[in-house]
């Protein structure tokens, strides 16, 4: 089977209460060193989008807020869980369905993780299993 190729770049972050990033992952097939140098930009964009996410989350019943912010060529999509944990995706190409599926799968993985008695809520996620799942879902839904 031919490996699917990631188009564009995605930066995914789970943001807990008090704006603490709990889990970060980048999905990209680019090995451009320039992108390495601008990795902080993803954090800037995702962090600044939290203002709009916090505004949007009270306006809809859906957990998936879709695209909430835009900065230059980057879009920011978001998903807010019942416990107000925010999933933020910074991406440079439109892939609403893929991101939606990714969010719902990650949400399920996150629920399972939060049921784990060894995981304390609103702390950094260090579970290798969770990381593996995120990678898997990233490959599955964010590549075309």
């Amino acid at each position: 089977m031919k490996a699917s190729k990631m188009i564009g770049s995605y930066y995914f972050v789970i943001v807990g209460h008090k704006d603490l990033p709990l889990f970060e992952m980048e999905f990209t097939n680019s090995k451009d060193p320039k992108k390495e140098d601008h990795r902080h930009l993803n954090q800037f964009i995702a962090h600044s989008a939290l203002d709009l996410i916090d505004e949007h989350k009270w306006k809809t019943h859906n957990m998936n807020l879709k695209s909430v912010d835009k900065f230059n060529q980057w879009f920011v999509s978001a998903f807010v869980t019942a416990s107000l944990i925010r999933f933020v995706m910074v991406h440079d190409n439109r892939n609403d369905d893929g991101i939606k599926n990714f969010f719902s799968e990650i949400y399920e993985a996150y629920i399972k993780l939060s049921l784990n008695p060894f995981y304390e809520e609103n702390t950094v996620i260090r579970s290798p299993a969770f990381e593996k799942k995120a990678q898997l879902y990233g490959k599955k839904y964010l590549s075309s």
Binding site: K18, H40, H47, D51
Partner: protein, 1182 residues
């Protein structure tokens, strides 16, 4: 911020007053450091965007607008009123930004940041500056021909009493100014007289005032330097800058003067003018049946100025562009009426008039005029508190219209108006979006203030959008950072932005802001602060290694700059952690080795056992001795991910008590490590030699090293763990910095102890002799030497030492009555014997003290550790029998058993110490070869003990099996036999009554024998390789006649001689056999029969078959052979093994019969002869 912006538009739309200073009027201003009255009055204007005093005003905590509150704009009569180009505006604004940036103070931010890592987001100074920037921008852009706000409404003529005839001056000016464009029916002329009380005469002033009033009806007076109100130092006005120029009373006078003019002349004139214009417009409407649209151009303006080149092009393209109307035309009057109404706050009237004007300009396709009116319509609606969607449409349309006619600046202004209105109306987020929409790539430095305005608008939103605020501040910082003159401003932006990220774990963003701030500081030549920030970044960053190397590079550059600026100062550098708690001190001599825990137990044991032991300060501080070098083991760890190289590493040392008085070289010497390479996250142990030269408390304050060509130092920190937590507020505080201290004592004895080496491999139970050499290399005598041994092996020192055995240690107390003076060496033999097998560690702790030192520290320790490999040994037993051949002789029968599985031992010499006996071979025909004892074999040795004539003194005799070994003499041991016996007594417990033995020896009994068997064993092991061990076995024997009397005390019996024929089986240790190929394993065994007697004997040998599943003998199991004297014969058999396992081959018996005497002996094997059969599975692979 929001409140101030709320009034922004009130500061833009103000009536313009032309100021004409006549005669010597400006001289009065120049005396007060102001060039003209225009400049002086403009300082009081709301529209004042002057940057110079705002810094001081902001410092004083009072808004600068408390002084700038006159609602008028003051211009010189020669002021340029033509519109300026976009490039000019760009240049002007850039200059404005640069000037403002120079005025900013970042010190407070930075100090706050370093000292407490606190967020410091508010900066009123910046908010003020942003408003001034907008004012500046709007003031620059307002000089447009399609608007009438710039047209003056009043002409203020100023004369002073310095002139002799001010009236004629005013008259002359009225005539000469007829040609100025501002002097028309729209402008009201205001006459004023300025009088300086300190210069002129008051009577003269009154006289001239009356004259002016007579001629021009009205005259406003401005009195300066009024003695009654003289109070130059009063703090009525906080503006420091102006206080230097004008006294507070003068400032007050000027303000009242201007307020009078505005309220009594300008505002009424505007109202009057509005009425006139309304009337004119109304009369025009009547004549054209109210259709002003169709008649405007035809009837009232009629004439238009010639088309510009651009306009021609527009016309050609089919779009009628806007033309320039005459100022006397109806359209301009319409616009003027609306503008004047707006100026005086008549927003309803202004709105209605603008609506009419919009229709006119729209019809004329005069887009610039149309856009201007739309802008004003938006402003009117916002003033009339309409909804946002109502007025925002006008601004957006205005921006579009301006863009349509290529006026980007005014398009931008329309959006800026909208943003200002939004901010005032509480729509801060929308305002921020407006500001962001104005930023474009080609705007350069102008983007900075726009992004900063956006950031502040986000912060002013309800709820505050602090995350957007921080992002846009960072972006603004990047814009400012591109210009060298605005770096201060960039730094300020970064420092305010980083406050939002602090403590929230957005590490990359935070690191980026740290790094950018540090670079700005570096470029601003604030190298110290840049260095601190880079240091913070390196220490607390979690960036990947490429970023870290970039940080380190910049850090090194800053370090170099610091060194070049202040070469006498050594900067504090933190690129590695020092584990202070694990700093060790050890002697500079080679390390003792062994486990530190064992040494610790032994030292504690001595402290507990010795009641005289003074607990010294070693427990709190390590002890160093003057002039005695030690090595400090300092563990350091590179906390970076990238390797670092340190050069010329040494210690920074000070004396704790009087450190200021001495140079480090005078009280201690430290060695220098030339180069240390530490990989990322690697721990390294620095070994630095230190020799104290002065008594006192030595403090190690840090490590000195060279990094990137610069000499630096690193302090010790007492943090648990290697890495400091990010943003720990007290990370730099002195409480967390600990300096290891050492007590440097005066001269103490110092022992050098050496022990002659043991062979690497020794045999269990064998006594080895070593020489212990103790030298006092110190400066005072050694007393009370205690040697504590922690070993399963046994040691024996001199006989006169006191020995005490404890549960886990053995202590030897030396030097009870003597001492070792400095320079003296004492040598003493030590006997060593180990019973335990395997690798054995021996710890010898020498504890010694002196009474001559006044210090409370008296006791010192010396450590010796060695390890040896102990192998199992031969075991031997001997019996002495009566000799049948010669009654006077005795026979010695010795059983030597080799318990080793795979090592052959060679017996080389048997020596005997006795009184009146000498040992000799049984037969002279015995070969001179070494007696070999194979693995698990037992050798029987026979020797004859013959009487000698000398029975007075004990003598030594030996029987050799090798020519290489010298005969046994007492000197071969180096000690007397009595000493050896004493050593043996203290070591072994073999069941003999040692007191009796010793007594017997002393009594000169001739029935006592000491036998010494010398042997050689060759060992081969994976760890030690091949080695040869020599050893001696000591066996004590008594002659048979005496043994009974000594031990049993019963009747004397002499046992008969054992069998004359010795039977032994020769075979290998083991064999391997694949039992799958063949169910049984056959293996050859040879039985050797040796007739040791001098008679012919017959031997009947019977190999017994098993009774229960043991191995079988193959071949003749019964054999009868005859042996002539000393003959040896072999019988070959085979053993048949049914299964793998260990078998005892000693399953035979023999009957020996003398041919002559028919005497019979029954021989049975002594002990076991084990043989192993292994399963060979190597063929399975085949």
């Amino acid at each position: 911020m929001t409140q101030e912006i709320q009034f922004l538009l009130d500061k833009v739309f103000l009536p313009v007053i032309i100021t004409s200073s006549l005669g010597k009027a400006n001289e009065l201003c120049k005396q007060r450091s102001v060039s003209s009255f225009t400049e002086l009055f403009q300082k009081f204007s709301r529209n004042n965007s002057d940057l110079s005093p705002f810094r001081e005003e902001a410092d004083s905590g009072v808004s600068p607008f408390s002084l700038r509150n006159i609602p008028a704009i003051f211009c010189d009569e020669k002021t340029q009123t033509t519109p300026i180009t976009e490039n000019q505006i760009d240049t002007s604004l850039a200059e404005f930004v640069k000037t403002a940036s120079q005025n900013f103070s970042y010190r407070e931010f930075l100090d706050n940041f370093f000292s407490a890592h606190q967020k410091y987001l508010r900066c009123p100074e910046v908010a003020t500056w942003l408003e001034l920037y907008q004012l500046k921008f709007l003031s620059l852009i307002n000089n447009s021909l399609h608007e009438t706000f710039w047209q003056p409404v009043a002409n203020l003529k100023i004369v002073t009493t310095l002139n002799a005839d001010p009236v004629s001056l005013l008259k002359e000016h009225n005539i000469s100014s007829d040609g100025y464009n501002y002097v028309d029916s729209e402008t009201v002329t205001i006459y004023s007289l300025v009088h300086d009380a300190s210069v002129g005469n008051d009577d003269f002033f009154l006289e001239k005032l009356n004259e002016i009033k007579t001629v021009f009806e009205k005259c406003y007076i401005l009195k300066l330097n009024n003695s009654e109100q003289e109070n130059r130092n009063a703090d009525q006005f906080p503006t420091k800058n102006l206080q230097k120029q004008l006294s507070s009373s003068e400032l007050s006078s000027v303000r009242h003067f201007l307020q009078d003019i505005v309220t009594k002349e300008v505002t009424p004139h505007i109202h009057k003018r509005i009425a006139e214009l309304s009337f004119e417009l109304a009369s025009l409407k009547k004549g054209v049946a109210g259709n002003i649209l169709s008649t405007t151009r035809k009837w009232f303006t009629g004439e238009r100025e010639p088309k510009t080149a651009n306009e021609s092009k527009a016309t050609l393209s089919g779009i009628q562009s806007d033309g320039e109307y005459l100022s006397s035309g109806g359209e301009q009057k319409l616009r003027r009426a609306a503008d004047l109404a707006f100026l005086v706050g008549e927003y309803v009237l202004a709105h209605e008039t603008y609506l009419v004007a919009r229709r006119v300009f729209q019809h004329d396709r005069a887009y610039r005029h149309y856009a201007g009116v739309l802008e004003m319509l938006g402003l009117c609606l916002s003033k009339l508190r309409y909804k946002r969607q109502d007025y925002s449409v006008y601004f957006e349309k205005a921006a579009e219209a301006y863009e349509k006619c290529g006026d980007q600046l005014r398009s931008e202004r329309a959006i800026l108006y909208l943003a200002a209105v939004d901010n005032a109306g509480g729509f801060s987020r929308e305002a921020a979006i407006c500001y962001i929409s104005l930023t474009k790539e080609n705007k350069g430095l102008r983007n900075g203030p726009l992004l900063e305005l956006a950031a502040h608008s986000f912060r002013g939103n309800q709820p505050a959008m602090m995350r957007k605020f921080s992002l846009h501040l960072a972006l603004a910082g990047h814009r400012y950072a591109k210009c060298s003159e605005t770096r201060r401003h960039a730094l300020l932006c970064y420092l305010r932005a980083v406050g939002v990220y602090m403590g929230r774990n957005w590490r990359m963003a935070e690191d980026h802001l740290y790094f950018s701030s540090a670079r700005q500081l570096y470029n601003m030549n604030e190298v110290e602060d840049a260095f601190r920030l880079f240091s913070l970044l390196l220490r607390e960053s979690y960036a990947p290694s490429p970023h870290e190397s970039m940080y380190l590079r910049e850090y090194s550059l800053a370090l170099k700059r610091i060194a070049s600026v202040a070469p006498e100062r050594i900067p504090l550098v933190h690129v590695f952690d020092v584990d202070v708690e694990n700093i060790n001190v050890c002697s500079s001599s080679p390390t003792s080795g062994g486990l530190e825990a064992t040494w610790g137990r032994m030292e504690t044991f001595i402290a507990q056992q010795d009641t005289c032991f003074n607990r010294n300060p070693n427990s709190a501080k390590s002890l160093l001795i003057k002039h005695e070098p030690v090595i400090l083991n300092i563990p350091i760890r590179n906390f970076l991910q990238i390797p670092i190289e340190l050069f010329n590493v040494t210690l920074e040392v000070s004396l704790a008590n009087d450190s200021a008085d001495f140079l480090p070289e005078s009280f201690c010497e430290t060695s220098t490590l030339k180069k240390i390479e530490i990989n990322g996250r690697e721990k390294v142990l620095l070994k630095i030699e230190l020799t104290p030269r002065k008594k006192g408390t030595l403090r190690i304050t840090g490590i000195l090293f060279t990094l990137a060509g610069t000499r630096c130092r690193s302090l010790f920190s007492l943090q648990s763990g290697w890495h400091r937590p990010r943003h720990s507020p007290a990370s730099e505080s002195k409480e967390n910095i600990s300096h290891p201290e050492f007590v440097v004592s005066s001269k103490l004895p110092n022992l050098h102890v050496s022990l002659s080496p043991l062979p690497p491999v020794i045999c269990a139970g064998v006594i080895h002799r070593m020489i212990l050499s103790i030298t006092n290399v110190g400066h005072s005598p050694v007393q009370k030497l205690i040697v504590l041994s922690s070993s399963s092996a046994q040691l024996c020192l001199e006989k006169n030492t006191i020995f005490k055995a404890f549960e886990s240690f053995s202590a030897y107390y030396l030097l009870q009555d003597t001492q070792i003076i400095p320079g003296e060496t004492m040598e003493t033999p030590v006997w060593f014997r180990s019973e335990a097998l395997g690798e054995q560690d021996t710890y010898l702790l020498f504890s010694y003290e002196t009474d001559t030192t006044p210090s409370s520290i008296k006791r010192r320790f010396k450590r010796i550790h060695f390890s040896t490999n102990v192998h199992p040994l031969l075991s031997a037993s001997a019996r002495i029998l009566a000799c049948q051949e010669n009654a006077s002789d005795l026979l010695l029968l010795m059983h030597v058993e080799n318990t080793l599985h795979n090592t052959t031992t060679a017996c080389m010499q048997l020596a005997c110490y006795s009184r009146g006996w000498c040992i000799e071979p049984l037969s002279s025909s015995v070969s001179n070869e070494r007696k070999m004892v194979g693995p698990m074999e037992t050798l029987k040795l026979l020797a004859r003990l013959r009487r000698t004539e000398d029975r007075q003194e004990p003598n030594y005799s030996s029987m050799d099996w090798t020519a290489t070994l010298p005969s046994y003499t007492p000197t071969s041991f180096g000690v007397s036999i009595s000493q050896m016996m004493s050593a043996r007594d203290s070591m072994t417990s073999d069941g003999y009554n040692h007191d009796s033995l010793e007594g017997a020896l002393k009594a000169g009994e001739d029935h006592f024998f000491l036998l010494v068997l010398s042997f050689e064993v060759e060992f081969s092991s994976a760890t030690f390789g091949s080695s040869t061990a020599h050893g001696q076995l000591y066996i004590t024997c008594l002659s048979p006649c005496q043994s009974s009397s000594l031990f049993s005390g019963g009747e004397t019996t002499i046992r008969v001689l054992d069998s004359p024929v010795k039977v032994s089986l020769l075979h290998a240790d083991s064999c391997s056999h694949d039992f799958r190929l063949s169910s049984t394993c056959e293996f050859p065994v040879t039985a050797v029969l040796l007739n040791t007697s001098s008679q012919e004997v017959e031997v009947g040998l019977h190999f017994k078959q098993p009774s229960d599943g043991d191995f079988y003998w193959l071949g003749k199991s019964r054999a009868a052979v005859s042996l002539s004297p000393h003959e040896q014969k072999e019988i070959h058999m085979k053993a048949l093994f049914p299964a793998p396992g260990a078998y005892d081959l000693s399953r035979y018996s023999a009957i020996i019969r003398h041919r002559q005497t028919h005497e019979e002996y029954h021989v049975v094997p002594e002990g076991c002869q084990m043989f192993s059969v292994y399963e060979d599975q190597s063929t399975m692979a085949i």
